[in-house]
Symmetry: C2
Subunit: 146 residues, 2 copies
């Protein structure tokens, strides 16, 4: 395999190493999440550190973070060199906080669901499950008392 001389990887190689399908890599490139130089023959060549960026995307996906969010944090990461420890720390803490939030939301829901198991009301009126937080206050669309 005398393919990648320098530290340039072909798209197939990157796919194999990252576990991300080639089609997805091209898609990420369209979104501006990753970048590659081209050979004279127009084929993509990735620098090694791009694997780190791809890793971040993979992690984000596991965390349920939408690509648009990834896009946002990536605006602050230089595309031409590997993310520093500081960068990674910053991103990790941001995402940790986001998970934290969703986790506690789920906890709330679960407590409500548990408390609701016996009641069987579901009557669109005072059921907390059907009236998230505010619902009885505003006059927008949504279930309310009659």
């Amino acid at each position: 395999m005398s393919l990648e001389p320098d530290d340039l990887l072909g798209v197939g190689e990157v796919s194999r190493r990252s576990g991300v399908p080639v089609s997805a890599l091209r898609f990420y490139e369209e979104l501006g999440l990753i970048a590659a130089t081209r050979t004279p023959g127009n084929q993509r060549r990735y620098r090694r550190h791009m694997l780190r960026r791809i890793s971040l995307i993979v992690v984000a996906k596991r965390l349920g973070i939408p690509l648009s969010d990834v896009q946002e944090v990536f605006t602050s990461l230089p595309i031409d060199h590997p993310p520093s420890q500081r960068d990674w720390r910053r991103v990790a803490q941001l995402w940790r906080a986001q998970i934290e939030q969703r986790r506690t939301q789920l906890e709330h829901l679960q407590r409500e669901l548990t408390g609701c198991i016996g009641c069987g009301c579901l009557s669109m009126k005072a059921c907390r499950l059907l009236n998230p937080e505010d619902a009885l206050a505003d006059e927008g669309p949504g279930p309310r008392r009659i």
Copy 2:
């Protein structure tokens, strides 16, 4: 408003009471999640208890449960009468378990992310974040050691 004589509600009324847009109600009907009789003029008329079913859908949405799952549990709920307390209890417990599962998954991820904040590896090799569970064992697609 002498509209709904019996206990039959028009689609607009149901929408107002449930907070679910008319278009969504029609969509749920297509999926077989809800049902309505028709007037001689072909307009939908819902029986009151259909609001309960719609409530279940609304709750499921808040819980992040996909409609396909709702569809499944609905196969065991009679469409022609309101779900009993037992029915509701069964469904609630099922969904509670599902939330539980997703919640603990998030917890794991968060622990890993926290533990990973300092390491900054993301090197596709031994990083736990990039290698969920099994990854080093199988030979399928995905990151692995080299």
